[in-house]
Amino acid sequence: MADKLLEVQNLRTQFFTRGGVVKAVEDVSFYLDESETLGVVGESGCGKSVTALSVMRLIDRPGKIVGGRILFRGEDVLEMDEEELYELRGGKIAMIFQDPTTSLNPVFTVGNQISEAIKVHLKLDDRAARNRTIEMMERVRIPDARRRYTQYPHEFSGGMRQRVMIAMALSCNPQLLVADEPTTALDVTIQAQVLDLMKALSEEFKTATMLITHDLGVVAGMAQRIVVMYAGRVIEEAPTRALFATPAHPYTQALLSAVPRSSVPRGTRLTAIPGQPPNLVNLPAGCSFAPRCPKVQPRCRVERPELETVGPNQRAACFYPY
């Protein structure tokens, strides 16, 4: 069998804080195929961003990857030395974040920052890098790219800055794009522009995308498959259509019915999930969702359900799925 593009096996990432060990990511496994878009969804603190940062090995103290394997085309990222990581980050795997303002250096021109990455990873000279930069800025539909090459980040609007980040990310032909809440800070009409662009470019460049978001609407339109995380673990994994049509895990079901949407008549009560996510320092025994689950049984409070196949390509970590 051919290697997957990315295969994460039993990943565990923890933060050693004064308040105790925060088990941010516990035993997380998932994969990505070539040129596939995988949605990773969950609420704040579920571990989705830490999972993404772990894939790039961008976890700093007090955090530490304490277990598991991250295979990128069969090579374990956790075994790589600094030089290999340098090749990997920004080259084979690129990342875009929620807030492009904090990822861009305010004292360098936008063109300068994009071409820097190109020079490093594609080993081009100044002139070729400049041409490639302008070409990429045009590809992400930044109007008047030649002039805007010499402008600074503050001269760009939020949507335009995110385009700069996408241009930078795709400039070195990465095989995987990790996008962490790429449109969360943007207005809805600008979000539509950026998502439209990301979709077109990932098809054109054949880049696989790991799209991390809290917005079920965004993944519904973008992802082929979806992984749902809760309290540091994957609790469901399914093709997009199956996840929305027949969610197996009670948390996924609850999440879907908590979103106000146009098919639900106005004024009906939303199905809120009672309580709040558990403290990651002191997780409950058994299933982490048990304290909030409407279908909870005694067994759920003592034993942890493993991720098991419940339907075609659909897996859920629940003793009583559907």
């Binding site: 809805v188 965004v218 106000p260």
Partner: protein, 339 residues
């Protein structure tokens, strides 16, 4: 005075049933520049708004960042002094009240903010946070105030035993409940809720939306609900006003605005909002607007939406389209409304 004002009431709006009436409301912020810091222009955050909030309704005010919706909300409560125009509350023009009279009026109107954490004093216990409005207006003795605080905590779904805890001990959703309890302390008639659920996770957002809905029925509240989240706005609102660059571009019953949007901006906004439904997402036709929202310092002439509008004609660049009734109870400010 009232009769004179009636003349400017938009057609179809009966002043009698309105709790709040905005007439020609403008809020400009000066832009200073140059060495001497002279005023070189102004940000027209709210640029001539006529709007009524009916007693007992939820009016949803939706728009993107910088459209002026939060400034409008603050100007209604006189937290920002309007540059021009009037804000009538139960018939009295708040912009003309003396500071003392305005202070007495404040009892009836409260605000809920987006970030409950920054709107709570970190050094105050939960009990003191909620009691503060009662102290400010000298309501009751300590025993009565304690009772009121415990009652309010119960109403918003928090334990009355938590009065001695501090804000940092609570989660985002709980903090928003604290903000709601505080807003309810003086039994207001009118609440401006500015993005009250935007900082919250989906599952917690649903809790807070349900709570706001329940409280409205229980306390007979009128809401001005400000949000960029079309799903939340639709869920809670009876009527919806869409705002773009300081102007109301569309106003109508919530269901009618969603089913039959008249203004091209509303059409684009609704089509851009992602829905958690893969089938719908796959088949829907999405209108992708080009460009960004223009600067409110130098807004385009005519219709403010014309540079991004796919229907724009010469007239749109010259003449501002007044807010007119296009369907029963449904207004739009557009020369070429409808699909």
């Amino acid at each position: 005075m009232a009769a004179e004002m009636m003349g400017t009431v938009p057609p179809g709006l009966d002043a009698g049933e309105s709790l709040v009436q905005l007439r020609g409301l403008k809020v400009y912020f000066p832009v200073r520049g140059g060495l001497l810091g002279t005023v070189v222009g102004s940000v027209k955050a709210v640029d001539g708004v006529d709007l009524d909030v009916r007693r007992g309704e939820t009016l949803g005010l939706v728009g993107e960042s910088g459209c002026g919706k939060s400034t409008l909300g603050r100007a209604v409560l006189q937290l920002i002094k309007p540059t021009a125009g009037s804000v009538f509350f139960e018939g009295a023009d708040l912009t003309k009240l003396s500071p003392g009279a305005m202070r007495r009026r404040r009892v009836d109107m409260q605000m809920i903010f987006q970030d409950p954490f920054s709107s709570l004093d970190q050094r105050f216990t939960l009990g003191r946070v909620i009691q503060e409005p009662l102290d400010n207006f000298g309501r009751g003795n300590q025993k009565e105030k304690d009772e009121r605080v415990r009652y309010l905590l119960q109403v918003v779904g928090l334990s009355p035993n938590w009065v001695n805890r501090y804000p940092h001990e609570f989660s985002g959703g709980q903090r928003q409940r604290i903000g709601v309890a505080r807003a309810l302390a003086l039994n207001p008639k009118f609440i401006v809720a500015d993005e009250p659920t935007s900082a919250l996770d989906v599952s917690i957002q649903a809790q807070v939306l349900n709570l706001l809905k329940d409280l409205q029925g229980e306390f007979g509240l009128t809401y001005l609900f400000i949000s960029h989240n079309l799903g939340a706005i639709r869920h809670l609102s009876d009527r919806i006003a869409v705002m773009y660059l300081g102007h109301i571009s569309e106003l109508g019953d919530a269901d009618d605005v969603y089913a039959h949007p008249q203004h091209p901006y509303t059409i684009a906004l609704l089509s851009a909002s992602p829905e958690p439904d893969p089938e719908l997402e796959r088949t829907r036709k999405r209108i992708i607007l080009t460009g960004d929202v223009p600067s409110p310092v130098n807004p385009p002439s005519g219709c403010p939406f014309n540079p991004r509008c796919w229907k724009a004609q010469a007239i749109c660049r010259e003449v501002y389209p007044p807010l007119e009734q296009k369907r029963p109870g449904h207004y739009a400010s557009c020369h070429f409304p409808g699909p």
